[in-house]
């Protein structure tokens, strides 16, 4: 029976070329758009997956701002008397929650962790060096010093000391705005070595291999540092007085109290995971093994900002592709339904004849379905050759416009905090402790790096259709045909062969 149905379908397709071509063209257009959308979507998913893999999962330990706000009390919820009494008393010293080096190192022993980083920051002086005047008119203390209150001002040196495990973990290096213009970068083994900015080097006629002697502003101890590299930063608001070194070296610039026999407080604690999927499990493990973190108002959370920024525009392309897919499928189903309805009406005599010969109506519906499948199969097959080009043009076009609009938004936000609770907020500056500074390595991301961060955005969509995409096209194409046949099928079921054959239908 199926063979006969197939034979009749083939005859109908072959002998009605006009109708077959029209349906074929519609299905070809539809399948091109469907496949383009599928391919774009699949490429987007792949690239997002790749982005996740390449960035890895990052978990940071930072102050639980919500809890801190609750504990400090929301001024708006206080009565006038409470506010009056609190304003008359001395302001309570705000203790910034922080992790000690030993705890940060213990957490890093977890099997989930691939690599980790933290930083410390301080400030120092060197009478022999001329500091670069920053746009704010001050030198090293800057923003952090002012934020930290009187103590911070007192403790501010001309130069910012930034200690971090490795050069590669400096935020500006990660977002591509910092590079070594001469010499080498440092890592955790390079004790008593540092890198300085191009501006500072030029101002003081310093070069790689020279030494500088910085003074700890807390105990006046002198530390001699060898310049192993000179860096260049393309960010406008970057403090050129920042001197980077490893954590052990930077620890020599904090006070004895803060040094705490080597178990000093560290900032911007961040763990890079072996597998991004394990972020939740790792956070649960931290919460279970280190309950003291929560007591100190610290929280472990997944840092997805870099990922979000990287995939933002391409994710929009994916959403757009989904929208196109839905619209095309619905539109195609409607158009094909109408064409088949007209077609069925045209063929009512044929339907009547076949019925009078004993054909069941489902058999006739099957024949029409097969006709559409034949035409559709050719259209779908042809579209596999053309849709990749369409997908590339369409996908790249949308991606470019998304990147352009996100760059525009970044330009508008330039100089304003954009990073949420972390933002450009530098916790190290708030306590007024000896380690306060304004130029801690920006592990938490600062708004003034937004221009450069756009360089990390996925700006090219790698379109390549896979067999699974083709399979999805054929499945959805046949699905559309099946749906489009529903209404015509109902009309066929309602046809009376008697009326058709007697010319009364």
């Amino acid at each position: 029976m199926f063979k006969n149905m197939l034979k009749r379908s083939w005859l109908s397709v072959k002998r009605k070329p006009g109708r077959s071509i029209i349906i074929g063209l519609i299905l070809f257009a539809m399948s091109n758009l469907i496949l383009a959308a599928i391919v774009i979507k699949s490429a987007v998913n792949e690239q997002m997956e790749y982005a996740k893999e390449s960035l890895g999962g990052t978990v940071t330990i930072q102050a639980d701002m919500e809890k801190l706000r609750e504990e400090m009390g929301d001024p708006s919820s206080k009565s006038f008397e409470e506010l009056k009494s609190s304003s008359s008393s001395a302001p309570a010293k705000f203790e910034r929650p922080s992790v000690t080096k030993s705890v940060a190192d213990k957490i890093a022993q977890s099997d989930y962790v691939k690599d980790y980083t933290y930083s410390i920051s301080s400030s120092a002086n060197d009478d022999a060096l001329t500091a670069i005047e920053t746009s704010g008119g001050n030198f090293g203390g800057g923003f952090g010093g002012r934020m930290g209150g009187p103590e911070a001002e007192e403790n501010s040196g001309d130069f910012t000391i930034s200690g971090i495990n490795s050069y590669a973990f400096i935020q500006q290096v990660k977002n591509g705005s910092m590079s070594i213009s001469s010499g080498e970068y440092f890592d955790e083994d390079d004790t008593d070595k540092c890198i300085i900015s191009v501006d500072l080097a030029e101002e003081n006629n310093l070069s790689v291999g020279d030494t500088i002697t910085m003074t700890n502003i807390n105990n006046n101890a002198a530390v001699t540092l060898t310049i192993m590299g000179i860096y260049d930063v393309s960010e406008n608001m970057f403090n050129a007085n920042t001197i980077y070194m490893n954590v052990d070296t930077a620890a020599k610039f904090i006070s004895s109290d803060d040094y705490n026999n080597g178990d000093y407080k560290v900032e911007n604690v961040s763990y890079e995971l072996k597998n991004a999927e394990n972020a939740e499990a790792f956070i649960s493990w931290i919460n279970a093994e280190f309950p003291e973190l929560a007591e100190k108002n610290l929280t472990a959370s997944e840092d997805t900002r870099e990922y979000d920024q990287m995939v933002g525009p391409i994710e929009s392309v994916g959403s757009f592709a989904t929208t196109i897919l839905i619209i095309v499928i619905v539109a195609a189903a409607v158009i094909i339904t109408l064409i088949v309805m007209i077609n069925v009406k045209d063929r009512r005599y044929e339907i009547g004849v076949l019925t009078s010969l004993g054909a069941k109506k489902l058999n006739i519906i099957g024949q029409i379905f097969l006709e559409l499948v034949m035409v559709g199969t050719v259209a779908f097959a042809l579209s596999t050759a053309t849709s990749t080009v369409l997908a590339k043009t369409m996908g790249q076009g949308i991606l470019d416009s998304q990147i352009a609009s996100s760059s525009e938004a970044s330009e508008k936000n330039f100089g304003r905090p954009s990073g949420g609770p972390g933002g450009s907020f530098k916790p190290g500056a708030m306590g007024g402790s000896s380690s306060s500074t304004d130029d801690a390595p920006e592990m938490s991301g600062a708004s003034n790096s937004s221009r450069k961060e756009n360089e990390n955005v996925i700006s090219e969509i790698n379109i390549s259709a896979k067999p699974s995409d083709f399979a999805l096209l054929f499945a959805s194409g046949y699905g559309v045909i099946l749906v489009a046949l529903l209404l015509p099928a109902i009309s066929i079921l309602r046809y009376s062969p008697k009326k058709i054959l007697q010319g009364k239908e």
Binding site: R15, E350, L354, S356, L357
Partner: protein
Amino acid sequence: MNKLVISDLEYTYKDQAEPVKVLKGVSAEFSEGKLYAIQGESGSGKTTLLSLLSALDEIQDGDIKYNDKSIREIGLSDFRLKYVNIVFQSFNLIKYMTAAENVQVAIDFAGRHDDPLKYLKKVGLDAACASRLVNKLSGGQQQRVAIARALASDVPIIVADEPTGNLDEDTEAKIIDVFKDLAHKDKKIVIIVTHSRKVAEQADKVLKLSRGKIS
């Protein structure tokens, strides 16, 4: 011997403003090897009777039995597939198919492997006609294709509605001969609804339908 028996058939058109009863207890018996002609004035219920005989419509009252089995029991679709074929005045061929392909459709439905040309030759059509699209054939040729299709379906009953209505006299005579052969040589039950006196004269038995009853 194959027999088709209709008994007390009644049929009312209910979709009119006033229900119209066109068949009022029609009974008759048709045997294999005979050509029957049903005649009657317009509105006498000929076409309605033919629709019921060819299982194109549901029986309302009464029954039609083929070899003592009701067509209700057999099922209308199965009855059309295995027992009856209908030839219309307007041929009702599938226009995008050739003559041979139209006949092949019936062979396919019958589930046989056969050469459609054999049936076309039986009604006087040659291979050249067989390979032409049916809408390129003359009225007489198209009617022959319709009859060949009925032959090819290899059913025991052939019902025809004014099969010579659109044909000239010569062709009419040839077509009547084909129907006679179907009845007498192929031992089929052939029932023709006709206004034509010539056709009625060639029939083995003429049934007159008047005011919904066979007289």
